[in-house]
């Protein structure tokens, strides 16, 4: 790595972003799906787990766009 060259993205970072995006999507579904499932058990309903999964996905998309969207 030269000290004077123009700043450039290290090559390892491309794969890093891919894994991070996938991880965030999975985490969104897991986190809010789990919260929905807990609420379902608590309230005796059965649809909140689906709502949770959708909310989690939306949150994950928002987070990904916020973080990597504008560069």
């Amino acid at each position: 790595m030269s000290e004077s060259g123009p700043p450039q993205e290290p090559p390892g970072r491309g794969g890093d972003i891919v894994w991070s995006v996938i991880g965030t999507l999975v985490a969104g579904v897991l986190a809010w799906g789990f919260i929905g499932w807990l609420l379902d058990r608590w309230l005796g309903t059965s649809y909140l787990v689906a709502v949770g999964i959708i909310v989690g996905m939306a949150g994950a998309f928002y987070l990904i766009i916020k973080r990597y969207g504008s560069g």
Binding site: T24, A27, G59
Partner: protein, 265 residues
């Protein structure tokens, strides 16, 4: 005259399944209700651990300025991790993690190579124990790196990404928590485990089927020859996967450490 019958009546082909990952205990040992039995996989684990220790010990016991022999080989590993992973992903600040990452890489690599090594023929990381423990090591390491470089602000930075209106944190903080502290280690372990299980199953199915077809005494023998050629090619592929997965495990650990060193911007 009697019509000659087939010389061999055979059972149908039984493809090897997930049971090839189960080994009987060699020494049964239970301490305080915890099963510490030693089976073939545990023996292989000891062997690989000893091998990695021995390689590094004898390579660098009396290091020469102009390396030769074993020292040359092991320096190639260290240089590779240093230049391709540590300097690329973390930068000069990351050189203090070089020993951990090099050991991790070499240990995962030799564990994986067991899958294609004659006589051994079992990938150590095809059992969950090692990938899980190594993933937990990387998790604990990047959390402690985060705390030591940013203090408790590490958790604030990790859980509350900047530039977002505060009511949205209710939505995003659980996602960030699961993504950083649960999904990261789990995917790290499962990626390695699943690759090794799949590789071992494919190799086993191909070689068992090749043997079955080559001894079938009918037209299948022709297919057996083709299958044999392909099985050998699969060994080359498994060697490649063994190296690649060791590299992926190490570089992702380095990426997580790099992320803990400085807050996101």
């Amino acid at each position: 005259m009697r019509v000659p019958t087939l010389p061999l009546v055979r059972e149908g082909f039984n493809a090897p399944g997930i049971e090839i990952f189960e080994w009987p205990d060699i020494v049964h040992l239970e301490v305080a209700g915890i099963d510490l039995s030693i089976n073939r996989v545990v023996l292989q684990m000891f062997l690989v651990g000893l091998l990695v220790w021995g390689l590094f010990f004898f390579a660098f016991r009396r290091p020469q300025l102009v390396p030769s022999g074993l020292q040359n080989v092991m320096e190639a590993f260290v240089d590779f991790i240093r230049n391709q992973i540590v300097l690329e992903v973390i930068g000069r600040d990351g050189l203090r993690f070089l020993p951990y990452l090099t050991t991790l890489f070499v240990f995962v690599l030799f564990g994986n190579l067991g899958g294609t090594f004659p006589v051994i023929l079992f990938p150590l990381n095809g059992r969950m124990a090692l990938p899980a423990v190594m993933a937990i090591c990387s998790l604990l390491l990047f959390i402690s790196v985060g705390i030591s470089s940013q203090g408790m602000a590490y958790f604030k930075n990790a859980l509350f990404p900047p530039g977002i209106p505060w009511p949205v944190y209710v939505l995003l903080t659980p996602i960030e928590f699961v993504s950083t502290f649960i999904v990261r280690p789990v995917t790290l372990a499962i990626r390695l485990l699943a690759n090794m299980i799949a590789g071992h199953l494919i190799l086993s199915v191909f070689f068992v089927a090749t043997g079955y077809m080559l001894t079938s005494l009918n037209i299948s023998m022709l297919f057996g020859v083709a299958s044999l050629v392909f099985s050998v090619a699969l060994i080359a592929f498994e060697l490649f996967v063994a190296g690649l997965q060791a590299y992926v495990f190490t570089i992702l650990s380095a990426v997580y450490i790099a992320g803990a060193l400085e807050p996101e911007h």
